[in-house]
Structure formats: C-alpha cells, structure tokens
C-alpha cells in the first residue's frame, strides 16, 4: 500500500494541481490493469512457456528433463511406475511443474541435482494431492491409502 502511494506520488507532473493529477494517474493505472487482466495478450512483457510442455488444465512441465528414457536402473521407484503402467519400458524424468495457481512444484530429481551448491536451499517438492482412487499406493503397507 505504501509502495503504491509512493509510486503514484512519484508520477505527479503537475505542481499547480497535484491532487487532480494524482487521481488521473491512479485512474489510468487501474484502467491498464483491468485491460491487461481481461486481454492478457496485450501484455508485451508477459512470461511465456513453450507449448510443448503444456499438459493441459493450466499445468506445465518445466526443465530439467532427461534426454533419454531409462528404467532408472531398476529400483523401487521404477517398480512403482511399472506397477501403474506395465507396458512402459522407460521414463523421461522431468524436474518441475508449474501449477495453475502460479506455484512451481519441484521434485526430488531436480532438487538433488544441486548437491554441493547450497546446503540450506528451500525445499519446494512437497505437494498437496487429491489422490484419485484408481491410483493405488505401492509400498509395504497400504493401511492408510486404501
């Protein structure tokens, strides 16, 4: 709020009648904001994401991603994927996901790539999921996920 007042105050260019000028500046700004909200294609500075990564419903996959599909050298994670998709022979792992609410969910795969860089980096790979019943949990116990 104070920041907005400061920004508006800086734009005053009419010392003889500053308050009328101020209200006009505020009016123009809200008009521009409203216009950009209704017609986002007018915003020349908008961030863009390549269409190839669009997975629908406002979700986008983001890099890092693997160039070649692999079966992750076997292991428990591959078993879990394979249990769901028995015909699959390998996965291309992707690192990040842009959610419709603007957040970016990372993953263990992308966040463990920066080992040796910073130790206490922010962890943003924990997510809230609404688990559909047709995707079961593979694991030692299914006591809570049934």
């Amino acid at each position: 709020m104070e920041r907005a007042i400061g920004d508006l105050g800086k734009d005053i260019r009419q010392p003889s009648n500053p308050f009328a000028n101020l209200s006009q500046i505020a009016l123009q700004r809200s008009q521009i904001n409203a216009l950009l909200n209704t017609c986002p294609e007018l915003d020349v500075n908008a961030e863009t994401i390549p269409t190839g990564n669009n997975v629908g419903n406002g979700y986008f996959l983001l890099t890092p991603c693997e160039r070649y599909a692999s079966s992750l050298g076997g292991g428990i994670r591959w078993d879990a994927v394979h249990a769901q998709f028995p015909h699959m022979i390998g996965v291309h792992r992707w690192g990040q996901l842009n959610l419709p609410n603007g957040q970016i969910a990372r993953s263990l795969y992308s966040e463990t790539q920066r080992e040796g860089k910073a130790e206490n980096t922010q962890i943003t790979r924990n997510v809230k999921v609404s688990c559909p019943p047709e995707f079961p949990v593979t694991g030692t116990h299914n006591c809570f996920a049934s």
Partner: protein, 122 residues
C-alpha cells in the same frame, strides 16, 4: 475436513501430502492419437496424520512421518493442488519421533492466477 474447504469432486478423492520424486509423460503408443500425452508424478506420500494431535488441534495440526520410498504412488499431475511446506514438529514428551507438520499458504484456495502464463502461439 479439507474436502469442505476445497469443494469440487473431492468427496471420494482423498487429500494427501507427498514429496514429488519426479514427473514423467506416459506416451501413448497409438500413432493416430495426437492428444497431449498425459503427465504423471511419482509421489512419496507422507504417513497418516497423528490422530491425537489432529483431534486436539481441531483438525489443524496435520503431523505425519516422512516415509521415504515406503509409500510410492503415481498420480496425474492435475491432481496436484498446491505446493506445501513440511516442517519438523518440535518434539514434546509423549509425541512420536520424526514428525513433520503441514504448512499451507493461506488463501491459495481462493486464487487462480491466469493471464500471465499465456502460451506461445505456434
């Protein structure tokens, strides 16, 4: 509990918290089918919430254990609702060890950002 807040076909879907291992596409073998391939995430789900802490806090404190690779699940990316933070729960006598609790960003349920992640037109 959360279902009441979130609405939208969550009556039979269960809200869970998990750590994303990685994301992947499931490519369709059928060459005729040029739909967008479905994307999935491999998620390590956190354990069930501690029932005592949950009821004592009137369903606010969702304290659970990190399960590593014990509870892996493949979910469609569209079922991922938001990014949350799992914080270590300060240990009090009588509580189980190694609990984490969920911190969600306030107000996210009401917000959907649109417009600024517009697609590149081909």
């Amino acid at each position: 509990m959360f279902c009441q807040l979130k609405g939208e076909n969550l009556e039979h879907d269960k809200i869970q918290y998990g750590e994303v291992q990685f994301f992947f596409y499931f490519a369709n073998e059928d060459p005729e089918d040029d739909r967008i391939p479905d994307a999935y995430a491999l998620v390590s789900l956190y354990g069930p919430p501690d029932p005592d802490l949950l009821s004592d806090s009137f369903n606010c404190l969702w304290a659970c254990t990190y399960s590593g690779t014990d509870y892996l699940s493949v979910v469609p990316v569209t079922s991922i609702l938001s990014v949350i933070s799992m914080q270590p729960l300060p240990k009090v006598d009588g509580d189980p060890d190694g609990l984490f609790f969920v911190v969600e960003k306030l107000g996210l349920d009401d917000v959907e950002l649109t417009g600024y992640t517009d697609l590149v037109q081909e």
